[in-house]
Symmetry: C2
Subunit: 575 residues, 2 copies
Amino acid sequence: MAANGKTRLQQYIPVFDWGRSYDRDALTNDLVAAVIVTIMLIPQSLAYALLAGLPAQMGIYASIVPIILYAIFGTSRALAVGPVAVVSLMTAAAIGNIASPGSPEYIVAALTLAFLSGVFLLLLGVFRLGFLANFLSHPVIAGFITASGIIIAVSQLKHILGVEASGHNLLEIVTSILTHLGETNWITLIIGVFAIGFLFWVRKGLKPVLLKAGLGERMATIVAKSGPVAVVFVTTLVTWAFGLAGLGVQVVGEVPQGLPPLTLPSFSMDLWGDLIGAAILLSVIGFVESVSVAQTLAAKRRQRINPDQELIGLGAANLGAAFTGGYPVTGGFARSVVNFDAGAETPAAGAYTAVGLAIAALVLTPLVFFLPKATLAATIIVAVLSLVDFSIIGKAWTYSKADFAAVCATIAITLGMGVELGVTAGVVISIVIHLYRTSRPHMAIVGRVPGTEHFRNVRRHDVITSEKILTVRVDESLYFANAHFLEDKIYDMVAQNPNVEHVILMCPAVNDIDMSALESLEAINERLKATNVKFHLTEIKGPVMDRLKCSDFLSHLTGKVFLSQHLAVKELSSQ
Amino acid sequence: MAANGKTRLQQYIPVFDWGRSYDRDALTNDLVAAVIVTIMLIPQSLAYALLAGLPAQMGIYASIVPIILYAIFGTSRALAVGPVAVVSLMTAAAIGNIASPGSPEYIVAALTLAFLSGVFLLLLGVFRLGFLANFLSHPVIAGFITASGIIIAVSQLKHILGVEASGHNLLEIVTSILTHLGETNWITLIIGVFAIGFLFWVRKGLKPVLLKAGLGERMATIVAKSGPVAVVFVTTLVTWAFGLAGLGVQVVGEVPQGLPPLTLPSFSMDLWGDLIGAAILLSVIGFVESVSVAQTLAAKRRQRINPDQELIGLGAANLGAAFTGGYPVTGGFARSVVNFDAGAETPAAGAYTAVGLAIAALVLTPLVFFLPKATLAATIIVAVLSLVDFSIIGKAWTYSKADFAAVCATIAITLGMGVELGVTAGVVISIVIHLYRTSRPHMAIVGRVPGTEHFRNVRRHDVITSEKILTVRVDESLYFANAHFLEDKIYDMVAQNPNVEHVILMCPAVNDIDMSALESLEAINERLKATNVKFHLTEIKGPVMDRLKCSDFLSHLTGKVFLSQHLAVKELSSQ
């Protein structure tokens, strides 16, 4: 538990670990990173709150206390915690069924969702159950993120067009937008299209310009990342100067000035029952996204993160969000990369970012009154389109049809039936495919390669076999799902070789034999015995052999257990 | 498809296969077996109908047409299809929530359950999905059957006591019986206890007596198996002669005389929705029980059964039950063994049994008017207690704690929360345990055993290692559930060996690398590259290597793929 010379306290509350060696250099680096991330986070936080159907300030609140709590309990040095696109979408999907967006019940549901998510993550962390997230396979996650990105981008089109629309899956959203298409506000559309165009240009075109202008590589990258701030500034100014809000351009409007309020989630069991499933899904997705970002960044500096401790960090962050007017949060990709690139050295950078955002919440909120929602929507669209990546489909097709099926099903179900069903279906399908594969293992009759002690598949190689000895190699651990398959195959093979006197099961790739498989081996032994055929095992691994010795199988075995296949054939042939 | 020289017709309708070579000898053997099985089945069929909460005659009907259809479509030569204890209990549990036992709605629900079960089994068979039943592990089945046996035996106590009682789990049934204990009918209790005692004695004590009296082994076994008929005869006679029905002894009463009626299941979608889950569970349980009996018997004569064709046989039998006044059926253990022991050679024996039962339904039903329900309950209790076998718990404890957990959970949930939840929980738990196991595979750092080319675990053996080369052997196929674990472990190991220049992953037990694992390998490669460590693979299996060649992983790999670990270390050491 207390590995690498860390005390238990340092392990569970990592701030006591890195905090001891905090110095002036680290402070400077962290402060610089914090300023940059703060500037970037202001429009992003407002935008994601909008995506979740919540008042804009909740996006800011969700970035302040959670980021501090993560700094205390988390293990990544560069992760920036706060609202992210996919989790915001899942929040909207989960609470959209319970209350209408923006209503007081909706806000309480968002707080409660953060609370349940926090409790669930903490429990997973305390019981060291972080490995559960591994059941989300890479293709399923990639498919899910791509499909979510599409849904998010399409759902934001209503803000670009300035129309009302709703829906939780692609078809509903598209239909809703199409029926309202006639109500398009042309000024809003111009602002939106300009913002999208500018942001796309900033991402690709601005950096080369800055580099030519003589900025350093790192500085150019950071300035290019703050493109959203420029768009926010320009469109807000234009909207204010020309009175566009009076011409039907939707603006953010009044955002209360002040520090995050103290809030309480609901403790109604009914509401918990409605939200718990969504809270679990959203926590797992958020955790997977966060851990993969954290691992990527940690590896670049040869640092390590501890996934179970990450659960505690994220759990604390979500509880913080629940009690300070936020909504579910996790470690975001874009903000973390900026934080890392800007030179953040310790989690303290996150704390300074929180201070920056707190100042913004106190002072700057009146300035966003005239910020058009179309600008925020443009920010979201450009951000999430970078998540959309269909190349996974082609890769999966080439490499593995099973993974291809999983990724296609995940994308199709997420787009067609919503995010919650999509990710659940993805997990279930990949488990089913895995079980199906291992339930019909590769089995081959083998013979000796002339002049060697090697045994190979009779169908692929020119090998020496004996009519009396049938050797079957099975290339999989034996467990309940393939135990019957093994029996059937062996009976089939024996039925096709009526002169056989010895059946050898060669087990170099058997890493485990569970009780069902043991009973199948016993059944095989008994049935072969009834027909005067002896049953032998070869090349059983040490741990598997230890297990078999705990049962009475070996005492009933009609044949022997040989250390190697070669020894077995030598002895049995000479009889 | 048309293996072993069989035509497609012979494969799908096996009667065309064995029917061609049917001769006088086979006819004689089959007829003898049919007479014996018929005598045994009459009380058993009545008893199981009672257990399912259905009118007694439905037990007989469920044995007639289904047995004929199985004879046409099934592949087992000795399997006897009809009502069985566990499926009857599951029928009662499934339709007990929908209607009150014995009501017309209850009967229609039973027919519908048989119909849905038949359709489901046929679909599984046509699409060759019989392997799905393999996900019921041996310990889960054993635990489930034991727990079901207890529930059935306890539920029958009400008939022995002559009281009213109901409930679907152990607690409900026991509570219900206890509250009605004061209403015990003493004459019923005497009959019941006598019947139970006599039947137990018959099972163990009668055969030696018969053998001493000079009967042959086979004949003695068969006579001993017909003990239930004697009890039925004696108790019916006593009840009639002394007018016990007037003294409160519950009797079977009027059973309509006649052949099975034509009936229709319900086609109400609401009812289908209520029953479909139960139909699936019951079909799978029935199929597993039936196939294991059929396989055991077939093996004794070196015959083979085809599990997918068995699904079609059982599906047809259940459809037959649905349209001729029956209820869900499957291949029963007791009746099949009797059939086999009595010398049945072909499925025609089943057809003759059906004729025998049809005659019984036409002629003998008035004779069972005075048959006490306590006698039938005694028959059931004695039959199911042979299913109860707690030794599986001890075996599982010794052999594998994971299997132990699965069997205990199955028994506890079946007893405490009913059969449907019990079996579902058992399946889910065994899959979860399997996934958990394979999600944290055994991994070892290995070194060369001095003087050999073998590489072994550094912790277990005295081996030669190099500070620059770290070799990790992983003992499991790599897939999404363990991909992150692999990454974490390797990073941990590299972090603990800072002077490493080469990391070798040794894969002799890796039977598959799925796309998630491939991405993890790519991630490992990239991260090691970032720290100037080369990543190599050794002893990759042929099929796995074929797959890797479909990806661009090998072109990015910083190191090499070596055929053997020895070659790898030789080359890397010499650099």
